[in-house]
Symmetry: C2
Subunit: 479 residues, 2 copies
């Protein structure tokens, strides 16, 4: 086991590579106003939603509008050995966007077209800057939906790069399962860049190495994702949401474990601790009971939804669950899920000026009660305000420790709690990150989780595919 990380280690040490003036001149000549060196623009692109102290921002921000423009930027950057940090909407939580080795930010948010919808095959192809809400708006009138829903209205490119998941993952899978194919611009030692395709629209394939899933979750370190083909789903015939309060958080978790072990095809099962319910009530003007709560949703035929709901209600009652409340109208459901998606920001607002240090452990479902209850006990003893939400059907939960960003002491205490929480998850057979990625914040945990050998294989792949180390360098692992 590594020693606990200190707050000093968490200030990313900038190992800035100088960005040659010739590169900036070339980018400016090529992209005109779409290559910005304005400080405000650079600063906006040099941070994310994490609690990291900002390092110097990137030297420039280039707004690419096509795959060939992305390829041009990579070719130029490769010539100069200059880092490129792909940027979607800036909602990452682990420091992915910080220019710790300098370089330029490549903003693909203007590549935001839905390129193709194949309702008859339940697939869509989108550009990386399309956000999940935008995609669902375009799908709604076809009776389809895209299932992966992180809290933020993230870009599909960013969600692919971090292997994101969300509240529907328990039933419909994460980005790992829902990305069918990618177009990626890769750095190329000779050509400077190359556009590749990693798959087809077939539902499954055994054609060579699974490059799709190599790039999904590579956090921008192997190339820039410029097109994504995704699975989508028919809107279920019937949908019912429900909330249920529990006497303590352990009872809510134990109910979840039983739901999963019984094989109930529940579509969503989200845990909110009492702190989160309080924050959400205030932020979203709701009147939920301020106790540990499960927020659930059932999809299927009317009969199947009824059957699932009855089973779950019985399991919840056995654990002391009370006040099972149904939300059957779309409006009620939307209100509840909007509140859930806003939980992170609601949590932040309970302590003005704070930043959140966010955990993301995921454990085998049988270990979830231990993981959650022990982490909550430690947090209560630790004296740092926090909130807890969880995609508990997957064994995944987040604590947000709300720290004063100027207090080294609070930062250190929160990191110590995070450290204990992660080590517990690893001991229980789990992972330090279920869906946010390693970024900068969890780099220390990766070798512990997978062993040095696996990290060395990752490094070997990185060195081979990006010999000048220009793609989002210094993230996931040190080279």
């Amino acid at each position: 086991m590594n020693a606990p990380q200190t707050s000093a280690q968490l200030q990313p040490q900038a190992r800035q590579r100088p960005v040659p003036a010739a590169l900036l001149a070339a980018l400016s000549a090529r992209f005109g106003a779409r290559c910005s060196t304005a400080l405000a623009v650079r600063e906006q692109h040099g941070r994310d939603e994490s609690a990291f102290t900002t390092v110097p921002p990137p030297a420039a921000v280039v707004y690419a509008e096509s795959t060939s423009e992305v390829a041009e930027v990579l070719r130029l950057a490769n010539e100069h050995g200059t880092p490129v940090i792909p940027y979607g909407v800036g909602s990452s939580l682990e420091g992915h966007l910080l220019a710790i080795e300098g370089g330029i930010s490549l903003d693909v948010s203007r590549m935001n077209q839905v390129l193709a919808i194949h309702p008859e095959d339940l697939t869509v192809t989108v550009q990386p800057g399309v956000t999940r809400k935008q995609l669902n708006e375009e799908l709604k009138h076809l009776g389809l939906f895209f299932s992966v829903d992180p809290g933020a209205d993230a870009s599909i490119g960013g969600m692919s790069a971090t292997r994101a998941s969300g509240t529907n993952t328990v039933r419909y899978g994460a980005m790992r399962e829902n990305v069918l194919a990618l177009e990626v611009v890769t750095p190329h030692p000779v050509k400077g860049s190359e556009v590749i395709r990693t798959g087809s629209r077939a539902k499954k394939s055994s054609a060579g190495y699974d490059l799709t899933r190599l790039f999904v979750g590579s956090e921008g370190t192997l190339g820039v994702i410029t097109e994504i083909t995704l699975k989508v789903y028919p809107l279920p015939e019937a949908i019912t949401a429900a909330v249920c309060s529990f006497p303590d958080i352990g009872a809510a978790v134990r109910t979840t474990i039983e739901i999963i072990q019984l094989g109930v095809p529940i579509a969503r099962v989200e845990l909110l601790d009492a702190n989160t319910v309080r924050a959400v009530n205030k932020h979203s003007k709701l009147t939920l009971r301020e106790e540990a709560m499960l927020l659930m949703e059932f999809h299927g035929s009317p009969a199947s939804v009824r059957e699932q709901a009855e089973t779950v209600q019985a399991l919840a009652a056995d654990q002391g669950g009370q006040a099972f409340e149904w939300a059957e109208t779309p409006e009620e459901r939307t209100r509840l899920w909007t509140a859930r998606h806003a939980a992170y920001f609601a949590g932040l607002q309970t302590r003005p000026g704070c930043r959140a240090i966010t955990t993301d452990a995921c454990v085998p479902i049988s270990q979830l009660a231990t993981a959650v209850v022990e982490s909550v006990d430690e947090a209560n003893a630790g004296g740092i305000p926090y909130f807890l939400v969880g995609h508990v059907g997957d064994g995944n939960f987040h604590m947000g420790y709300l720290i004063d960003p100027d207090s080294a002491d609070e930062r250190a205490r929160a990191e110590q709690l995070n450290h204990q929480l992660v080590h517990r998850a690893l001991r229980l057979g789990g992972t330090c990150t279920g869906e946010h990625g390693i970024g900068l914040h969890k780099m220390g945990f990766l070798p512990e989780e997978t062993g040095d050998g696996a990290v060395e294989v990752m490094r070997t792949i990185k060195r081979a595919l990006d010999p000048k180390n220009i793609m989002n360098p210094g993230k996931i692992f040190a080279l």
Copy 2:
């Protein structure tokens, strides 16, 4: 488009690397009788179920009994630059096991222990030589099952290496979705070999590159899989199987397309053409109507199964489906599915002495009727006996062209049909292989399907992780 492959190209050109006597002596000294150079043993390990003319067999077969023994073999082989071909039960269909560059066969079939069962988490960990039927025997009394079921009783290691799927994949996913983590022995430029772990038992993770899915489907070219952690499922409360005959194959396929587009959570939907039904009737002593047929299974609660079955029955009737017959007892179901799994061998037996050239295209579901009907029309015109089976819910189907292996003319005509079928699948947005892998047989199609850029990325990864090219060389792509 490439020119059609000729039969000459299909005789793998052996580029045999000499196997040093010193290596054979070292293996023999270390493994004793578990290192065999007997011709019969070598010949058995130098072929698979494909129609390839055999190349010279491997120089020796080593039976490894532990991960550390696998690591020893790789270390020795790496020192001598000698190819190693991992061997499970020999059921591959694309020439994966042929020693086209010489070397040794590493048989892991004796590593056949189920190492851990976690019923409470729905996961198991097994050694690579465990077969799918063996695993299901061990799970049955716990009310659990492992879902992936290729026709043969393949080894879990081999199924992982080829990214296999089967009849349940439409509902439960392929090996891609069901492998949670691997232990792999990798060639290592300095140490000779290294044992790595690619994941945890957590249901999802964003911890670094997805090495699990890089090795799943790598066909033994990147390392030897020595442990596999899998998802398993609770046996459904209710199971019903049904067969339905159709006036023509197009009607059966159109019914399938509607089932999938409607989002019916069908557990299995298999197509058998009239030729296959005839072969299966004879082989398994059944009396099925000798017409195009769908063989289906529904899993869920009793109410949900009833509901699914009613929906499907109505869709089938619209397409002229007749003689919907139910099989509700476990014995009836087992008889039907055993017959389905034996279809490949039943097909072979319709022409004594023949070998099958097997296709494996997979297309977006909306294109399946075109892909199947045009391929059948061509096969009927082509004059080569054939059978057709399909995991049609996934858009995946197999034709087996039954050739006289000594007839260069029949081989060429079958390959021409295969060629046309694959090109059609690629035009329709699909893949040349849904589940069998590239091996030797489909190497010509890979660059066409993914483009040269993606294949070059695969080659770059291969060169970096296996610098001496000892792991199953000459498969998937030429270096």
